[in-house]
Amino acid sequence: MSAPLQTSGAAGPGTDPAASDVALDPRLLKALFPIFSSPREKPLIYLDSAATSQKPQAVLDAMDQYYMTCNANIHRGVYGIAEQATALYEDARRRFAAFVNASPREIVFTRNSTEALNLVARAYGAWKLNAGDAVLLTPMEHHSNLVPWHQLRVERQLELRFIPMTGSGELDLDALPRLFADGRVKLASFVHVSNVLGTVNPVAEIARVAKQHGATVVVDASQSAAHMPLDVRSLGVDFLACTAHKMLGPTGIGVLWGRRELLEAMPPFLGGGEMIRTVTLTESTWNELPWKFEAGTMPIAEAVGLGAAVQWLQKLGMHRVFAHDRELAAYAMARLGELEGVRLLGPPAEKRGGVVAFTVEGVHPHDVATVLDRDGVCVRAGHHCAMPLHDALGIPASVRASFHCYSLREDVDALVAGLHHVQELFAR
């Protein structure tokens, strides 16, 4: 088939993957994200990439190209553009599979991480877990990895257990033997990188202990897939969820990776078109993987955008993205640490990704964020969909700055300057 998008991918960062020891140049990369050159009163200082990342021109072009050259529904039409659309959609799946060292059969497209985690809870959890079984979670989960288990807990009479946190916001692995001792934990689900503390959790280590005790392991990779190399095989987990819009791709599409034998065995999640093999008036049989889990018309353009984003990230080199994020986090922690009344949350820089959350004494986080906004600085304020974590920290909310490949030291400097304004204003 013709591949209309192959050329647009060339508008990438122009870095040689082989030159992987060369650090990223965020200034050059920033120029490839149109939002930063779109006209506005003040320059955009975007420090909220953990909520959603900005999108490079190559991703936007790939989606435009799809709509302008071969928009058609996939998997059914036998005419030319339907074939092209199907090939693009499945090409995105193959690219993502390669990105996380998985088989394309194991890559299920969803709406986002939340839907991916709900899929696991509903299709696997409701099928496998029974009254008296326990699900192991952590206090630093995003609501997306708590609420589906709350719902299932009530329905299936499950117990929820939590790996405790240390004072520095890391998981206390010494507690694992005790938590698994009675053999009732049948599933463990936890976040790879905390969206508030930035803590990088030792997934492989927890997974190893969980597997020794026969538990199925689910990891929420929403913050990690966008920022560090991921290899589902070496992590040793069973399911992994992530979302495109945090990884330079569009909103509306996420991914569930699952081990093939589990995806084969478990029942489907949503029923409808495309996920079936045969349908009679009273019965259906299921399509093969991964389409068994993709009911209805999927977000095709978004899948194409995700494929382009993955290609773009691969060119950058994920270990270089991670190194850049960590370097900025360390810089931000040092600069913020100089400010009186600023309390940093979470572990030291070498144990976290590109996320720095903090509080400012005497000023509510929403007021901090609103004042910073007047300086063009975009940070997130609130509980970041992690209310139990904030309860554990004894604070109602926090301010969060987070980074991606286009973030600069100057952005952090603007944040620090803005915080001086905040403190001046509220000290009046």
Binding site: H364, V371, R374, P396
Partner: protein
């Protein structure tokens, strides 16, 4: 920035009027803003169809707490019908700001939501956006 964090907003935030609780109130309404974690509790004493006394406690950002202070001060002595007629624009006028984005509006309108619940005698008032 000055238009939002005006002196009188910061003043009401730091020195809230009508702050506290009432013994055996005629109505006690609590509400929160799940997006931001702002919380308000208001105690009301009614007399002759009017708000004889109102006291609030709460936690949250300056906008949420200052609007509670300003609104409580404004409705003391008003009839319940007058309280039911208070609009979103009235709250913005009390704050002295032209408009707020949809996110910060939730902070500013939490007090209105709480007051309306008391005036209508319901646990939660969810129609504050109708005043737009």
């Amino acid at each position: 920035m000055d238009s939002l964090f005006r002196d009188h907003i910061l003043d009401h935030y730091r020195n809230p009027r009508c702050h506290g609780t009432l013994e055996q109130p005629d109505a006690r309404v609590e509400d929160s803003n799940p997006l931001c974690g702002d919380r308000l509790r208001m105690d009301f004493r009614f007399a002759g169809g009017r708000v004889a006394e109102v006291r609030f406690t709460g936690s949250g950002c300056s906008i949420s707490q200052a609007s509670a202070s300003l609104l409580c001060e404004a409705i003391e002595g008003k009839t319940l019908d007058e309280v039911k007629a208070v609009t979103r624009q009235d709250v913005l006028d009390l704050l002295g700001i032209d408009d707020l984005g949809p996110v910060r509006s939730k902070c500013a309108m939490l007090a209105l939501k709480t007051v309306k619940a008391a005036a209508y005698g319901v646990a939660t008032w969810n129609d504050e956006d109708d005043d737009k």
